[in-house]
């Protein structure tokens, strides 16, 4: 199988369409399981009471907000380096979902911080850099909307996305580099998790659910973008025939 074939929008469009239900239904199923673990099985936290149950969405969406940005920067780099149409479309498709994840992470963090730290918001390094991430997503979306020519928009947004990527390691390491109100990570690749196994399980299942949701939504959106941008191209006339999409 020649994978390069799928780098053309015409070949990718039907493939993306076939993948969407798999990721979408898996996301729903995993979210149900994750919420069942989070609310049904995981016990009350001995320090935070029931308020800690917010972390099941907070951590999952905060991870995703950073990861989507890196993926968007990756596609932007491909778009800038190889000038491939689909790369720019992929980057374009990811920005709104990245902004959504960032918003949810900030919102749930505020509602968790109030009962746990005593404040909704503090201008500490972690929260400020996450807020900058939200503005970077907004900036990429606004820049895209401001430029009529799609290929020029790809390049401009690509540069912005790549420059903004320096913010992601700043978010991630902010709790180590600076003295932040936000606590250090509870989950790490190199050390034992600082939480009960069942809580960790709920968090990881929710994280995978958020992953699959983001993939499904990005695939649907990239299909819309392909239709919007390739309008008039000969191959798209086959798309709306029954059974071909």
């Amino acid at each position: 199988m020649n994978l390069y074939r799928y780098s053309s929008p015409s070949a990718f469009y039907p493939v993306a369409g076939k993948l969407v239900p798999w990721f979408g239904w898996s996301a729903l199923l995993l979210a149900i399981v994750g919420l069942w673990i989070g609310f049904g099985l995981a016990p009350t936290d001995f320090q935070q009471g029931e308020a800690y149950r917010i972390i099941f969405i907070h951590v999952a969406t905060a991870w995703m907000s950073m990861f989507i940005y890196l993926v968007m920067a990756f596609w932007s780099a491909l778009s800038l380096g190889f000038n491939t149409r689909l790369s720019g479309m992929m980057a374009q498709a990811l920005a709104p979902t990245g902004a959504l994840m960032t918003f949810i992470a900030l919102w749930t963090g505020a509602l968790w911080g109030r009962p746990t730290w005593g404040t909704y918001w503090a201008w500490d390094a972690r929260m400020t850099s996450e807020l900058i991430l939200l503005f970077l997503y907004f900036g990429v979306i606004a820049l895209r909307n401001a430029i009529d020519d799609d290929r020029r928009a790809d390049r401009a947004c690509g540069v912005l996305a790549l420059v903004g990527a320096v913010n992601v390691p700043i978010i991630y390491f902010s709790v180590q580099w600076w003295n932040t109100l936000h606590q250090g990570s509870s989950v790490s690749m190199v050390a034992a998790p600082k939480m009960a196994a069942i809580m960790l399980a709920g968090m990881l299942v929710m994280a995978i659910a958020v992953w699959f949701y983001s993939i499904a939504v990005a695939l649907v959106r990239v299909r819309c973008i392909i239709l919007e941008r390739e309008r008039g191209a000969a191959w798209t006339s086959q798309l709306t025939e029954p059974g071909k999409t």
């Binding site: 029931e50 308020a51 917010i54 919102w107 509602l111 709306t240």
Partner: protein, 49 residues
């Protein structure tokens, strides 16, 4: 049941977090559906010509 919704006194925070998350996801899905329908309709129109 009401104990579950009270969340040990943290109901406002927990359900405020989960409720807005659910709402935000609904908004994204509905907006995306509208976009897909618009793109497909514009496309079908162009193909019919």
């Amino acid at each position: 049941m009401s104990e579950f919704f009270a969340m040990g006194g943290y109901g406002f925070y927990v359900w405020g977090a989960y409720g807005v998350t659910a709402l935000a996801i609904m908004v994204e899905l509905l907006a995306l559906r509208a976009r897909r329908h618009a793109a497909e309709a514009a496309h079908a129109e162009a193909a019919a010509r």
